[in-house]
């Protein structure tokens, strides 16, 4: 536990600012022997929906240049099984790490229901609300696409849960700062960005998209510049608000240097996603690298660097 990496955010203490991203670390169990999540700032679990979801037909993933596309279709064990079988194991193994449960719904009501149940469960430190989920009632446009539905989901959930609430935004919008503002006004305690970017790869021999569903979400190093830009922009927006909230930076982080890019752009916490597939101990390497960097640069606490790239 390096004191230089200790961070306070969301009213919680994090032993370090490095989290693992939803959907890239399962429920913490499969990687536990290779990379125990108890070493992390927090585990963010795979998105949970009310019902168990089988997910999309395969192929679901494919590699692209410095990135990958996925169309998993929110396959997950469902709320009930999560609470009964996964959460207790997680709580038992968390150690000093925080537990953040990522939730979604296909309607505002489902969002509220899942969030209020998960948010009230023992061992849950915070919720992350996945606004990249499609809104079935509004023609499958995702909730994160317009300020109104962001407001509805966030304020609806906020009214029902006591734990801190993180709104996870998607970058696939004309003005991410406007959505960030809407989420904060509606009561979000923090903002996670970015989720994946819609993309497609075509298998030219088969003359159709490689991924069965056609479109997939792009993640990995390829999207890092987009994520850093979003964090930078939203941090500027936060500075102009009465009650700015911390930002969780996500997208293409594989090393301490990448994490520092996000931190200096304005992130208080970061999440490692796709990189865990490339190297199961990627998150540990980021943590160790950050400690070393602080050591070499005389940084007493990593929080000093938050937003550093904005100063002139």
């Amino acid at each position: 536990m390096d004191p230089r990496l200790k961070v306070r955010a969301l009213g919680l203490e994090f032993q370090n600012p490095v989290l693992v991203a939803s959907g890239t670390f399962g429920y913490g169990d499969e990687y536990y022997d290779v990379m125990p999540f108890s070493e992390l700032g927090a585990l963010v679990t795979k998105t949970i929906t009310r019902e168990v979801r089988k997910g999309n037909p395969p192929p679901r993933i494919v590699e692209t240049d410095s990135g990958m596309l996925n169309s998993i279709g929110l396959a997950n064990v469902g709320l009930e099984k999560f609470l009964a079988e996964k959460l207790p194991w997680i709580a038992e193994h968390a150690g000093a790490a925080r537990v953040i449960v990522n939730v979604a719904g296909f309607s505002v009501e489902e969002f509220i229901e899942v969030a209020s149940v998960a948010g009230g469960a023992a061992g849950v430190d915070a919720l992350e609300v996945n606004l990249g989920c499609p809104n079935v009632k509004a023609g499958y446009v995702h909730f994160g696409a317009d300020p109104d539905s962001v407001r509805q989901v966030v304020s609806g959930v906020r009214a029902q849960v006591d734990v801190p609430l993180i709104a996870k935004l998607t970058p696939n919008v004309t003005d991410i700062a406007a959505l960030a503002g809407a989420a904060v006004e509606a009561g979000a305690d923090a903002l996670s960005l970015i989720n994946t970017i819609p993309g497609m790869k075509i298998d030219v021999e088969r003359r159709k998209p490689t991924i069965a569903m056609g479109f997939g979400g792009l993640s990995g190093p390829a999207v890092r510049p987009v994520g850093v830009a979003c964090v930078y922009k939203v941090y500027q927006q936060m500075v102009s608000m009465d009650h700015p909230v911390p930002i969780v930076g996500i997208g293409g982080i594989c090393s301490a240097e990448h994490a520092l890019e996000y931190i200096m752009a304005g992130a208080s916490l970061v999440q490692v996603g796709t990189a865990s597939f490339v190297h199961p101990q990627a998150a540990r390497q980021v943590i160790e690298g950050l400690a070393e960097w602080c050591e070499q640069h005389g940084v007493k606490n990593i929080s000093e660097l938050v937003g550093a790239a904005h100063k002139v």
């Binding site: 959907g23 499969e30 290779v34 089988k54 395969p58 679901r60 410095s66 990135g67 996925n70 190093p221």
Partner: protein
């Protein structure tokens, strides 16, 4: 043995046939515990590759102590880079991963079908079956072109009968592995254990030629794009029949070896 990640040094890369190579390295953890059917994820030397995700490869041969050999064929970025590796370069190995083949209970007759680059797990399995005292082992190995045929005879235990089929007829039987399998299966007195690894149409064809009653079991080793190799990303699912419906099983965790009668071949 739990899987683990390690950087290891390449010992040798050898060209065995057209587009087909052997990659050798030392990793005691894998060499000691890898079972036939299991695989590992291979990562490129750090900073030296334009590809990104690790790639899955079956264990082909281990010496039980330290040495591991992977048999691979060049397709795209990863395999082309692997073919150009030189002794001393570092690659990452994450393994052993996945389930493995079941040994036959009655230990009488096993028929193995390896199509193209489905060969490696079949070759490893043949060795284990021989070691386990299975009386008769037929390994049917098929390739599109004779130029791609890996010369296996010297490396297989004596009692493994190797049958080669090539579609261009340059080596062995001209035609497909199923054309060797059909008459062989017809002549079986007792239900053999059947194993296959190869293109999906081949494994589906085998499933359609046999019935669960006529074999001890039929195990098929499947392929799917993989990212994590460890059950996390849910990227590698294979549709498996569950009554009239299909369920998705993770090829990297519940597989790669599946009950060949249960895989929904029409959906893969």
């Amino acid at each position: 043995m739990k899987p683990s990640f390690e950087w290891v040094r390449v010992k040798a890369v050898e060209r065995l046939a057209d587009k087909t190579y052997l990659l050798g390295y030392e990793r005691p953890d894998s060499a000691r515990s890898a079972a036939p059917g299991q695989f590992c994820m291979i990562s490129p030397p750090e900073g030296k590759s334009s590809f990104f995700l690790p790639r899955p490869f079956s264990y082909f041969r281990t010496d039980g102590r330290a040495r591991v050999d992977i048999l691979f064929r060049t397709f795209g970025k990863a395999t082309r880079l692997m073919a150009s590796l030189r002794p001393g370069e570092r690659i990452g190995e994450f393994g052993p991963l996945g389930n493995s083949f079941t040994m036959p209970g009655r230990a009488e007759h096993a028929i193995l079908l390896g199509g193209g680059i489905g060969l490696p797990p079949m070759a490893m399995l043949a060795g284990r079956l021989a070691g386990a005292g299975v009386a008769r082992i037929d390994l049917i190995y098929g390739e599109l072109e004779g130029a791609r045929v890996v010369k296996l005879a010297a490396t297989l235990p004596e009692n493994v009968r190797l049958h080669v089929a090539t579609e261009d007829g340059v080596v062995g039987h001209r035609g497909r592995v199923t054309e060797i399998f059909a008459p062989m299966f017809a002549k079986c007195d007792r239900p053999p254990a059947v194993y296959a690894c190869g293109p999906n149409p081949m494994m589906a064809a085998v499933a359609s030629m046999i019935t669960p009653e006529a074999v001890e079991f039929y195990q098929a080793s499947c392929e799917q794009y993989m990212a994590c190799g460890r059950g996390i990303c849910q990227g590698c699912v294979i549709p498996v029949w569950n009554g009239d419906e299909t369920v998705y099983m993770r090829c990297c965790t519940e597989g790669p070896v599946f009950n060949g009668f249960e895989v929904a071949w029409t959906h893969v």
